[in-house]
Structures are given as structure tokens and as C-alpha cells.
């Protein structure tokens, strides 16, 4: 017994000794499943390469849970040093008065940093004015996935996916008439797909430049374009072509099991879809309306926010980790393991040079889509709203009502807009 005590005491002393001069920073994130392993490997490698720093990653549940928990912890003084927040929470974080905008960090540490090295649409999404507020980490966008085997069975060219909504309709009819499937198309994250449709046609979602020039006061819908989107989807649903698949990733299984032939989903599902599907998966740009202007698909996913009120040593540790994430090799490892965009242009170039995209063309789709679109309008960069979670709920609910036929597309959007505007107004009364 005595010997045990001695050993324990010694171990503790040694541990304390080693820990001295070592800065530990905590990192809360929402990466589960296979991406968790990728992330943990990156952190472990970083810690091994930096004996004086320890980044301690803590998985804190879904994005929603992570943000709720971060707020509770911040208010009680137990928040981590940096945290991953989903794109919907961006405005809340900007207004939180709880963070250090990342563009200020190099200056605070007496360094300079070239922000132009990050892929431009991602950089723009997380910037206020010209300044980057959160560190780009896991960015994705939405693309079209389709089942090439189904296309062949229906006598369609497997290398010609639909590019317009008219073609979606036409192809859908063919696939159903050929008896390949009973429903053709479904969405993941339907609320986000609505944002995508507005953005790829360069239409605003909310005023004040999508909430980027100042806090939004009103949403723009229902306007003729948003009604057109809803009407198109409702018509496709009535024809049996579109099958509503519920929120988030619920629709994926219908696609991977061959119940439907096309799916709009986040690029971050790419690896798991290819792995689960036992047919040839094709990917392409989101279909558009041929008679409408061009915008760009918007970035989703998450970014890293740095809590204010930490020592210089801690801040330096966080910053070292961010710089590490920006190294092309690390960035590429992240991309290949998860399907998220690599955040830097250097990583992108290296991937191209090593022939990765030729080998895995599905990984290229999202890039081509996002880099070929406009990057000069607020509508094409993305939406930033305080009560964004709530507003997405309203949009999803409106879509469900329009599809079920309880409300006309226009009435459903108008109902959601009234709720959204009330939420925006309430948010502004608190943040000024």
C-alpha cells in the first residue's frame, strides 16, 4: 500500500514537472464519426510536433449543442480557448462580445499573416467587411449526387446529369416511366437548399445585403423568385419526382439504397455516400433555372472562433495550431479524410499537381461549382442572420406545408416571413 502511495506521488510530481512550461488550450468541436478520427489525428500530430503546447480537443455534441454549451460555459467563466461553430451561428458569434476576431490575432502577437492564401469564397463568407473574424476550418457546399446506374437503366446518358430544373423534370419522368424508381430526387438540409437556390441565381435572402452590410431587418421573400423555387419543388413533388426527405442527413439512405436517383446534399457527405452506395455515384452542379441570373453556391459547415480573455501564451498556442491547420499537407489530409474543402489555395494547387482530382473527380465538383460562380455580390457570398436557426426552422416548416398542400407556396413563404421578420426585429432590439 505504502509503495503504491509513493509511486502515485512520484508520478504526480513528474507530471507536474513536465507540465510546466507547457500551455494547454481546450478546443470544443462537433465532429463525430469518421471525421472525429481525422481531427484527432491532426491534433495528436500537432501536439507531438509542439512539445510546449497541448491542444485538448473535446467533442461536445452536435453543432447546436456545442454552441449552447459554449454560451453556458462562457457565462460561467469555463469556456474553452477556441470553439467550432456552424455557419448559422456566425452572426451570433460576431455580436457575442465574447471572441477575438482572428484577423487581430497576428497583430496581437507581433506577427503578420497573409489572409489572401485562403480560398476566396470561404474567406468572404466569414469576413466582416475586409476582415476575417473566424478561422476557416470545415467548409462545404451543396452539390447534386446522382446514380449513374439508374441513368443507364432509364436510357439516359450517365455523364449528362440535369443542369436545369426543366431537365430535372424531364429526367425524372423518364426514370419513373422506365420503372427504375418511384421517386427521383430528394434533399438533405432542405432549408439550406432554399438558401442555395437563391444564392446560385444571385438573389438576396435578407435586406442589408443579406445581413452582411448591417443587421438584417427583413427577409426578402416571398418575392417572385422564391415563390418560383417553392412552386417548382411543389410541382415536382406532386408528380412524384421530388420526395421530401426530412431535415439534415435523413435523405441520404434513400439515395444510397437506390430508392431515389438524385440527391442534393452537402459535399461533406461525399465520402460516406461513395462508401455506402453499391452503384456508380456521379456528382455535378446544382440544377438552375436557365432564364435567371448567375450567382454562386454558398459555403456551409463550420469555422473556429477564439474566446477573448486568454493569456498571450494561450493565444499563441491557439494561433500556432491555426497556422498548423493551414499547412498544405494538414489541409489536404483533412480534405481527403472528410470531403470538406481544403481551406488554402496552396493545398488546392498541390492536390491538383498530384493528380488527386483526376483520380477522384467527384472531389472536384464542389470546387468547380464554387470557383466558377460570382464572388462579388452579397447574394452570392452567403447569408448572415442573428436568429438564423429559428428562421431556417420557419423555412423548413413552410416548405413542408407547401408540399403537403396545406398552404400555397406564396402563403407558406409569407407566413414564414412574418415570423422571420419578428425574430430579426427582436434580435436587433438586443444587439445594438
Amino acid at each position: 500500500m505504502k509503495r503504491v502511495v509513493v509511486v502515485v506521488v512520484l508520478a504526480v510530481l513528474v507530471g507536474v514537472g513536465l507540465a510546466q512550461g507547457k500551455t494547454t488550450v481546450e478546443f470544443w468541436h462537433a465532429m463525430s464519426g469518421s471525421r472525429l478520427k481525422v481531427l484527432e489525428k491532426i491534433v495528436a500530430d500537432f501536439n507531438a510536433a509542439h512539445p510546449d503546447i497541448e491542444v485538448r480537443p473535446v467533442f461536445t455534441g452536435t453543432y447546436e449543442e456545442t454552441l449552447t454549451k459554449f454560451i453556458a460555459a462562457y457565462r460561467t467563466g469555463t469556456a474553452p480557448h477556441f470553439v467550432q461553430v456552424y455557419e448559422v451561428g456566425t452572426q451570433t458569434m460576431i455580436d457575442s462580445n465574447a471572441i477575438i476576431p482572428v484577423y487581430q490575432i497576428p497583430g496581437m502577437l507581433g506577427e503578420t499573416w497573409d489572409w489572401a492564401q485562403y480560398v476566396r469564397p470561404i474567406l468572404l463568407y466569414y469576413s466582416v467587411g475586409d476582415n476575417l473574424w473566424s478561422f476557416p476550418f470545415n467548409s462545404s457546399t451543396s452539390i447534386l449526387y446522382y446514380n449513374k446506374d439508374h441513368f443507364r437503366q432509364a436510357g439516359l446518358d450517365p455523364n449528362k446529369p440535369p443542369t436545369t430544373w426543366d431537365e430535372v423534370y424531364e429526367y425524372g419522368k423518364r426514370l419513373i416511366e422506365a420503372g427504375v424508381v418511384t421517386n427521383v430526387l430528394s434533399f438533405g438540409w432542405p432549408d439550406w437548399q432554399f438558401e442555395q437556390q437563391l444564392a446560385i441565381h444571385n438573389y438576396l435572402y435578407a435586406d442589408n445585403g443579406n445581413g452582411r452590410a448591417g443587421l438584417a431587418t427583413k427577409v426578402t421573400w416571398p418575392d417572385p423568385f422564391s415563390v418560383k423555387v417553392f412552386t417548382t419543388w411543389t410541382r415536382l413533388a406532386r408528380e412524384g419526382i421530388f420526395l421530401y426527405g426530412g431535415p439534415e442527413y435523413n435523405a441520404n439512405s434513400a439515395f444510397t439504397s437506390g430508392k431515389i436517383s438524385m440527391l442534393f446534399q452537402s459535399t461533406s457527405s461525399l465520402d460516406s455516400i461513395i462508401k455506402t452506395a453499391n452503384f456508380e455515384v456521379g456528382t455535378s452542379f446544382l440544377p438552375r433555372f436557365s432564364d435567371e441570373p448567375r450567382g454562386n453556391s454558398v459555403v456551409g459547415g463550420g469555422s473556429l472562433w477564439v474566446r477573448k480573455g486568454q493569456s498571450t501564451a494561450e493565444l499563441r498556442a491557439v494561433w500556432e495550431f491555426f497556422k498548423y491547420l493551414s499547412q498544405p499537407d494538414v489541409d489536404i489530409y483533412w480534405h481527403k479524410g472528410t470531403g470538406y474543402f481544403p481551406a488554402t489555395n496552396a493545398a488546392l494547387k498541390q492536390l491538383m499537381d498530384e493528380g488527386w482530382f483526376a483520380q477522384s473527380p467527384n472531389h472536384l465538383t464542389a470546387f468547380l461549382q464554387i470557383l466558377s460562380g460570382r464572388q462579388d455580390t452579397a447574394a452570392s457570398i452567403g447569408v448572415r442572420l442573428g436568429p438564423f436557426v429559428e428562421i431556417r426552422d420557419y423555412i423548413r416548416s413552410a416548405l413542408e406545408k407547401a408540399l403537403a398542400g396545406t398552404l400555397s407556396p406564396e402563403a407558406a413563404l409569407a407566413e414564414a416571413a412574418a415570423k422571420a421578420n419578428r425574430a430579426l426585429q427582436e434580435y436587433r432590439s438586443l444587439v445594438k
Binding site: S32, G33, S34, V58, F59, T60, G61, T62, E65, T66, T68, K69, A72, A73, R75, T76, T78, E248, Y249, N250, A251, N252, S253, T256, S257, G258, K259, S268, S269, S272, I273, T276, N278
Partner: protein
Amino acid sequence: MSRKTLYKVGLHATLLLILIAVAFPLYFTFVMGTLTHQEAYAFPPKLVPGNQFFANVTEAWHRVNLGRLMANSALVAVAVAVGKIVLSVLAAFAFTHFHFRGRILLFPLSMITQMLPLPVRIVPAYGLMASFGWLNTYYALIIPYLASTTGLLLFRQFFLTVPDELSDAARVDGAGPLRYLWNVLIPLSKTNIAALFVIEFVYMWNEYLWPLIVTTAPQMRVAQIGLKMMITSERTAAEWNIIMAGTILIMLPPLVVLIVMRRQFAQGIAMQSTK
């Protein structure tokens, strides 16, 4: 066959039919848990079990770390059941064996616990856990649950039926109240303790909302949340065969406890319904 026999056979047949109907969802769950991913997506659905059960269970087990989740659930459910029994025995003893001013508290206490279920205090209760630093700890999963009106009333009612002679005899022997409680009352209460244990174990194993908000770290999650994690994890969603294999594991412990201790549970119900 006489009319009476016919009537009885008919009655049993009806009851068995109802029983099959009620149990059918469970059977379908089991079948789904034994299929491959492709078989699971057959329409019309398959009704004959496949041979993938252990593969699916293994997959579910690894995917959401079910072992850890179920261990957490077991720990929390046992701790809460035992803690509730201890606290309510002590309080019931005080309320039945002593004459003290605090006795007027009995009624308000039982009303308060009935009137303040979790949803009416959930937001500040969460804040309280955050300020104690209890988020993602067993404390948050156990301690707020420890007050129990069911237990208090159950034991109070039982202690009132214990004849005064027993406590008189104990006093004459020079035994103090705690010794009397430990040596006499508690052994007499075995059935009630067992009944309360079943009720509270099943209750706690099945709790969902509070564990959902006070824990977020995967190693602190409980089995019920594992169900949600299976649906949303890995982002491919709804692999019903694996989800159902996991579901079967998660529902097993309270089912076993209930069936093994059904007699005590039935007595507990009888006590409650005549309270």
C-alpha cells in the same frame, strides 16, 4: 364442446390475437436488426429474420460506443434508484416516527415535487449545472433526481402499518431510532424497496431530456441518447438494420429487470393504486 368451454377458448384466442398485435412491432424490430443493408430496404418489407444480427449489433456497438453508454446508464439508474430509496426511507422514517414541527412539510413537499417537473424549470436548471461545473458529469445525471415523492409516500404508508409494539420493544431494549430503522424497519420493507427499485431503475434508464442537455461528450452520454446518435451519426442516416440491432440492446436491461422482478413490481403497483 359446452358453451362454457367455447366461450373460454374464444376468449383466449381473442387475447392471444391482441397479444400478437401488441407484440408485432417488437418482432418487426427484431427482424430488421437481423438483415443486411440491402435486405433492410426491400419493399414489401421482409418478415423473416436474416443472419446479420451479430454483425449489426457489433456495428452499432462500435458506431456509438454503446458499451460505454450502457455502462453510464446502468451506473446512473442504479445510483438514482438507490439514492432515492435511501433519501425517501430516511424522510418517511422522520415523518412517521417523530413528533416535530417539520411534519407540516410533508404535504407541501409532495405537492412541490409533483408540480415542478423538469420542463417548468429546465432553462435555469441547466444554468445551475453550468455554474456548478457539472455539465458532462455524473453529478448532473444523478443528484437532481434524488428527491422522490413516490418513494416517500410509499414508505410512509408502509411504516404507518408497522405496529407500535415493535418500536416500543426496541426502545425498551435500549436501541436508538437509527438502529431500529436499520435492524427492524428496513428488513420489513424489503418488498417495498424492491418495488421502488424496479420503478426507479426503469424510470431512470429511460430518461431522455435531461441527459440530452446536460451531457454532450460522447463518453458521458447515456443509452437513450445513443438512439438519437445512431440515427444521426455518420451522416448517412437511417440504416435501420443497425439502428434496430442497437435498439434491442438498449431496451434489454429495463426489460430484464422488470420481468425478473415482476412480482415486486406488481405489489408496488397494488400499493400505489390503493394509496
